[in-house]
């Protein structure tokens, strides 16, 4: 796995946006999506999310494994919830009767038009959230992460910590590989021999502990450098400044409207209730 922050969306329309737009768009979209349970509106949100994702021009071959993981994980989550809920379906309109197709053998969980629709809506919702969120990792220049969060109102020290975190990742990943190789050279065998989780956990100790302790001990240089430069003694300036252009403002306004619209619709319409497609209801 490649841990180095990869700017895969470099040069794309999305990468040209002010990075604050990307962060705020995800926030607005996620809070809008969690209020919508009508599968027709969810399909609209999914289309919007994939249009957004596509504008980042992230090469699919680079993120194929991430998509595979996401789809498998969502499927398990949705399926597990459907089975364990044993026919209880949330967000049904008042007084709605379920239309049961069959009962699962052994488990006895009912499969109905309603819980299938619920599962599909839940699946689409997770997919849309992932599509809208993935460009955060690949279409924001890692150089501007700190200033992005600072200009979003995060206290500058913590914005700096976020920036520092992102910069530490590649070097810690390299340290981890070095430690792993060093332990292998010393004869450590990390192949699982025992099925016991405790024994297998103890086998990871010779890799995890040196990586962590070396990272902490090596922090002294960074701390000294920051102290010598007077970190935290006054307002901080950033190397890059951010400016919202006309397109950024329009996009941002669109996402804010989406959030407001979803919230208002949740109270005024049936968008926050499941909509069961008529063709799924047995005659």
């Amino acid at each position: 796995m490649n841990f180095a922050p990869r700017y895969l969306g470099r040069g794309s329309w999305l990468a040209q946006r002010d990075p604050r737009v990307l962060v705020l768009a995800v926030v607005c979209f996620v809070f809008a999506a969690i209020q919508v349970w009508d599968v027709r509106l969810m399909l609209v949100l999914l289309a919007l999310a994939f249009a957004w994702y596509r504008s980042a021009r992230i090469p699919f071959r680079e993120v194929r494994r991430l998509w595979l993981f996401a789809i498998v994980f969502i499927s398990l989550l949705v399926f597990g919830n459907g089975i364990i809920a044993s026919g209880r379906v949330q967000r049904l309109p008042d007084g709605w009767e379920q239309h049961i197709y069959l009962y699962l053998p052994l488990l006895g969980s009912p499969i109905s038009a309603e819980n299938v629709t619920f599962a599909i809506t839940q699946f689409l919702r997770f997919m849309s959230m992932i599509a809208i969120g993935m460009p955060l990792a690949f279409a924001i220049d890692p150089e501007v992460l700190g200033v992005t969060f600072a200009r979003l109102g995060v206290p500058s020290r913590f914005a700096f910590a976020i920036d520092l975190t992102w910069r530490f990742i590649p070097s810690f990943a390299a340290d981890f590989r070095t430690t792993l190789d060093a332990q292998r050279v010393r004869g450590m065998d990390f192949a699982p021999r025992s099925r016991g989780p405790v024994a297998r956990l103890r086998r990871q100790v010779p890799v995890i502990v040196p990586t962590v302790v070396n990272a902490i001990a090596g922090a002294e240089d960074t701390i000294d450098a920051m102290d010598l430069r007077g970190f935290g003694t006054g307002p901080r300036t950033w190397l890059r400044e951010l400016r919202l252009d006309r397109t950024d403002r329009a996009v941002l306004a669109g996402f804010v409207l989406l959030l407001v619209g979803a919230t208002v619709a949740g109270f005024a319409t049936s968008s926050s209730y499941l909509w069961i497609p008529p063709f799924m209801i047995p005659g």
Binding site: M1, F3, V26, V30, I34, V63, L66, W67, F69, F73, L76, L77, G80, N81, I84, A85, S86, R88, Q90, R91, Q122, M129, I130, I132, G133, M134, L136, A137, R157, F158, A161, I162, L164, T165, W166, F168, I169, F172, A173, F176, P197, V198, R200, L201, Q204, V205, I208, V209, T211, V212, V213, A215, I216, A217, A219, E220, T222, I223, M226, G232
Partner: protein, 190 residues
């Protein structure tokens, strides 16, 4: 200064040391959390995540702010690296953050153990981490509102598996990390 030697007032101070340790904790957790997963035999979805022990350890060793940042930002980074998205399950990141925060508050409720021998400090780390894990992950029940999941589904497929796996990692690895870190800390003169 570390949490293991902090006064109550200094638990909340923010200096360059807190910022750097926060960044280190979050980066390490974000990198390692997806690498190691040890399935528990006989279960379908219960994994021990060794890297999770970093959250209570960083909280316990360096204070609640470092612990909270390590859990919150580290989990978001891990989710983003894995493709899940930093904000898709924001309540889980918050839960991780609260675990680090509660472990960092150990001087308020385990002071007597933390002033004693290294063995007692290591034991206190495991206890603080365990308490923090059990309480902090209660936040995942917000999935009942966010994703309209069933209570039993959250309990049996999310809360219990995660807490069991993370407790195993915490009880074993936090004392080991405390044992490894204390001599280094002394050598560094802190």
């Amino acid at each position: 200064m570390t949490s293991m030697s902090m006064s109550r007032g200094s638990l909340w101070s923010i200096d360059s040391r807190v910022i750097v340790y926060s960044a280190i904790g979050a980066a390490l957790y974000g990198v390692l959390v997806g690498l190691f997963k040890i399935p528990i035999p006989g279960t379908t979805a219960v994994d021990v995540r060794p890297a999770f022990a970093l959250v209570p350890f960083f909280g316990y060793a360096f204070g609640p702010i470092v612990g909270f940042f390590t859990g919150l930002v580290g989990n978001m980074i891990g989710d983003q690296i894995s493709g899940w998205g930093a904000l898709t399950s924001y309540n889980w990141s918050l839960a991780n953050g609260v675990v680090g925060l509660l472990a960092g508050l150990a001087p308020l409720y385990l002071r007597s153990m933390m002033d004693k021998s290294l063995a007692q400090k290591a034991l206190a780390g495991a206890i603080a981490g365990s308490i923090a894990t059990v309480i902090g992950f209660l936040i995942v029940f917000y999935d009942m509102i966010k994703d309209q999941m069933d209570f039993n589904a959250v309990l049996t497929t999310e809360y219990v598996p995660v807490v069991v796996g993370d407790l195993i990692a915490t009880i074993i690895l936090v004392p080991v990390l405390v044992y490894a870190w204390e001599p280094v800390k002394e050598r560094l003169g802190r």
